[in-house]
Amino acid sequence: MTDHTLTHKKPRRPVFLRRGPMEALAVAIIALGFLMLFQPFVLVLYTYSFITLLAGTVMFTIVSKFPE
């Protein structure tokens, strides 16, 4: 019985196709972009904030469609 169950067990998806970790990564990138956009210390961080935010937002939109 155990052998039967083991043979039919679905292979685990790779990390970059799993919704949970990828969503967490996208949220982290958005948060980083957000902090870069509004921080008052370094102009270069502000310059690259938009691309960071955009990358995070696009990534979140895509990975949130992945199955659980």
């Binding site: 949220v27 502000y46 938009f50 935010l53 995070g56 979140f60």
Partner: protein
């Protein structure tokens, strides 16, 4: 006689059938339920596309051009990422982002704390709580134009009630209390007005959250001899948290776009101390007439708010799953 009467009746019936318009049900008989549903929602979708989606895509297109709205006949050239590069390397726009962040942070903190405290008090259901709820909700019902104008009068150093009250408490002469003219006080003047106006909104959402907590949970906690302090932190706050987060999300998005109140109270001044992003955007679009550049600025703000909303929706789902 009977035969001719029958013929006449048949002719009349035929004429009546031909004259009667075909009922809608017969005409749409061939349509599926799905098609009829699409027919009903199509006007809304068309309106949404025309009012929301088309302007968004048009702004994205304009953000890559040198289009100027005051020169509609001039040749429009593609400037690539030039507008974005200028926006993201401009120290003045960077400063306006910091002003926005300061405004959004403090308004959200104050509105959430005061709004939740008011909701907690109103939820006690004391005598006359309905009257007080209505009274507290009044600022939210006023137009921002009205609020901006009468707070200008309240902030007047010579005749304003606010300056008089502060002077009465602190002993500082009223002429020294320049809420809208002082570079250090002007940002706080706007925060005070926004908090005064929108705290009732946060209170309403928090009140809905508090009213949704079943009484039996508190009763069980009392049986277990949990202190009111423990009940507040272990029951009230966790169960009202999704509502609080929703209020923070709504106010956060709204305050990023804050324009009318700031424009009426200070117009971005003194200097540029209260020049939030939307005021800078308006100056770029309608004073400098750099429509392409201001479109790029608007897209940067849109992506920031959209990203923030994504984070919040994820956090909200996580809290609701607990």
């Amino acid at each position: 006689m009977t035969a001719s009467h029958d013929t006449f009746s048949e002719k009349m019936a035929d004429a009546a059938i031909r004259a009667t318009p075909e009922p809608l049900a017969v005409r749409v008989r061939g349509l599926s339920d799905r098609a009829i549903a699409w027919l009903f929602i199509a006007p809304t979708i068309v309106l949404l596309l025309a009012i929301n989606i088309f302007p968004l895509f048009w702004a994205i297109y304009l953000s890559f051009t040198n289009f100027r709205a005051n020169r509609p006949n001039a040749v429009v050239q593609n400037v690539g990422l030039g507008n974005y590069s200028r926006i993201l390397n401009d120290p003045d726009i960077w400063a306006s982002m910091q002003t926005t962040a300061h405004f959004v942070f403090w308004t959200i903190v104050l509105q959430t704390l005061i709004g939740f405290a008011l909701a907690y008090l109103i939820d006690r259901k004391f005598r006359g709580h309905a009257f007080w709820t209505t009274l507290i909700l009044i600022p939210m019902m006023l137009s921002p134009a009205v609020v901006g104008n009468f707070w200008r009068f309240l902030y007047e150093p010579q005749i304003g009630l606010f300056a008089y009250a502060v002077s009465f408490v602190s002993g500082i002469p009223t002429s020294d209390i320049q809420m809208l003219g002082n570079v250090h006080l002007a940002p706080w003047a706007i925060i005070i007005v926004d908090t005064w106006m929108w705290t009732p909104y946060v209170m309403l959402i928090c009140l809905a959250g508090l009213r949704s907590i079943p009484d039996y949970i508190y009763e069980a906690a009392e049986v277990d001899r949990a202190s009111p302090w423990r009940q507040f932190w272990s029951i009230t706050v966790p169960m009202a948290l999704p509502f609080i987060m929703l209020a923070v999300l709504f106010r956060g998005i709204e305050n990023f776009k804050m324009f009318d109140m700031v424009n009426l109270l200070t117009g971005g001044g003194p200097g540029s101390t209260t020049e939030v992003a939307s005021i800078a955007l308006k100056r770029d679009a309608f004073e400098a007439w750099a429509t392409g550049r201001s479109s790029a600025f608007a897209i940067v703000l849109f992506v920031a708010v959209f990203g923030l909303a994504n984070i919040y929706v994820k956090a909200l789902n996580k809290v609701k799953q607990r």
